[in-house]
Symmetry: C2
Subunit: 256 residues, 2 copies
DNA sequence: CTTCGTGACTAACATATGTTAGAAACCTGG
DNA sequence: CCAGGTTTCTAACATATGTTAGTCACGAAG
């Protein structure tokens, strides 16, 4: 399935996609000088195109560049000895895949595209140069810390919420993140995840994810078809899943 | 129970405790100049003493200092609306509690001491000054990234491992982390956690944690009494829980 | 040396979620 | 328009873990 195929979202997505999603997200939170913005925008200028289900980077690798998502979705995951997979993050446009690798050396997990995607490859030397600018150093620092906050919320999701709450919570989170980069339309957005991928993210089974999705549809909380998620009653979904967007550290926004 | 009361570990712990655990950990991984070391050591000079079960910081607060664990244990956690608690990290000597708060603004979770503890309060201005030194900026950056890696491993633990594996994995992780700061003695170390705290960290129930601990003892994998954990067969525990220490990004060490 | 409170531990029973297996619906490529 | 691969969806059944409700052990405090 082409992740860009939803007619209702295509025009919107394409138009907004013109301005860097990274900048869109940052601007509401951190003040950026024009030069900093230009430098960030330049990062996305010559991205590599990748098909779905391609490895962006694998556990054990030591690249001398970092990857920045420009378009499409990817997932960070770890494999267990028995072949089970745990997804630990979904990466959407504007997300750095592996800012840490230049400091930590070796990747301790892998990253794979979920859709067709555009990924910028930024040389380590380039990153070092950018980090000279205090404004950008702060931006990278901020992005890393938000990623960390998302990981903590993810642990809560997997550890202490039941399947219904966890799925709802993840949907709310992805909705807000997509909104922050301008990729929502009302309460709809492209969610190009299979039920198996959702299961791997939440420590569940595809069968059980399916059961829960049916129930959510029956309760008119969502509709989810052809890779488009529509949250039909955001307030109720938020309440049912105990979602509080504070950990995303985005600007305050009213939400109807 | 006094967490320092174990005779076998008391002398050891006290002696090693004399040198900053933060420096002990960093030295094997990052090169540090003498001045940098001195600056880090100075951070721990005048810590605050706290009793067990005291809040170090609460969700929603915006302090203008950061906390550094000097002695004792603490836990990072989130509370759910229904009162359930999920612990997302255990903090041991040398760990920063909330390096992120100066950038992100507001705490999105709380931190509580588990034992009596010594905690250094470092003013934000002081942190800013330290970060001027490239070596120290790199150190803080590194510490944050390792924390993030630990979070990812934690998600895998909670999401895809059964209770037995998860508990074993956590024990291995804490063993290595304690070893990195010189607080192990053979394969024993102080693990001042109640079964309820273990449960809250792993998304389990205290009852079930108890069942699993019994089984681990029966299988002669561990002994765990009076706050002292002894791993009786490290190799087997590691294998049984699928533990791979790579994500801790410590120096390579042979392990018998 | 008793009392109290906390944490460890048990047992019987309940259930959310996993397992297996297959049918149906849906894309995609030819 | 068909063939073949995914993905969705169901159903029947299995089980790891949760729930409830205690007893027991032990250290701290008086």
């Amino acid at each position: 399935m082409d992740y860009m195929s939803a007619p209702a979202l295509k025009g919107e997505g394409a138009k907004r996609g013109a301005v860097s999603p990274l900048i869109t997200r940052l601007e509401t939170v951190i003040w950026l000088g024009e030069e900093d913005k230009a430098a960030l925008a330049a990062l996305g200028e010559d991205p590599r195109e990748m098909g779905p289900r391609r490895n962006i980077i694998r556990e054990g690798e030591r690249p001398d560049h970092v990857h920045l998502m420009i378009e499409g979705w990817a997932a960070r995951y770890k494999l267990l000895p028995d072949g089970a997979r745990q997804i630990t993050a979904f990466l959407i446009p504007g997300d750095f895949c592996d800012l840490h690798v230049t400091i930590l050396g070796e990747m301790d997990h892998s990253i794979i595209t979920l859709t067709r995607a555009k990924v910028a490859y930024v040389a380590r030397s380039k990153m070092d140069a950018l980090t000279e600018r205090p404004g950008l150093a702060r931006v990278f620092w901020w992005a890393t810390l938000v990623d960390e906050a998302v990981l903590r919320a993810w642990i809560v999701n997997v550890g202490r919420r039941d399947a219904f709450e966890a799925i709802g919570h993840l949907m709310c989170e992805l909705y807000v993140r997509m909104k922050n980069i301008g990729l929502t339309c009302d309460h709809s957005f492209e969610l190009p995840l299979t039920q198996e991928e959702l299961a791997d993210a939440l420590g569940l089974t595809p069968v059980h994810v399916n059961r829960v999705l049916q129930r959510m549809r029956a309760e008119k909380l969502i509709s989810f078809k052809a890779g488009i998620l529509t949250i039909r009653d955001y307030r109720r979904l938020e309440a049912a899943s105990g979602f509080n967007p504070n950990y995303l550290h985005a600007a305050e926004r009213a939400e109807g």
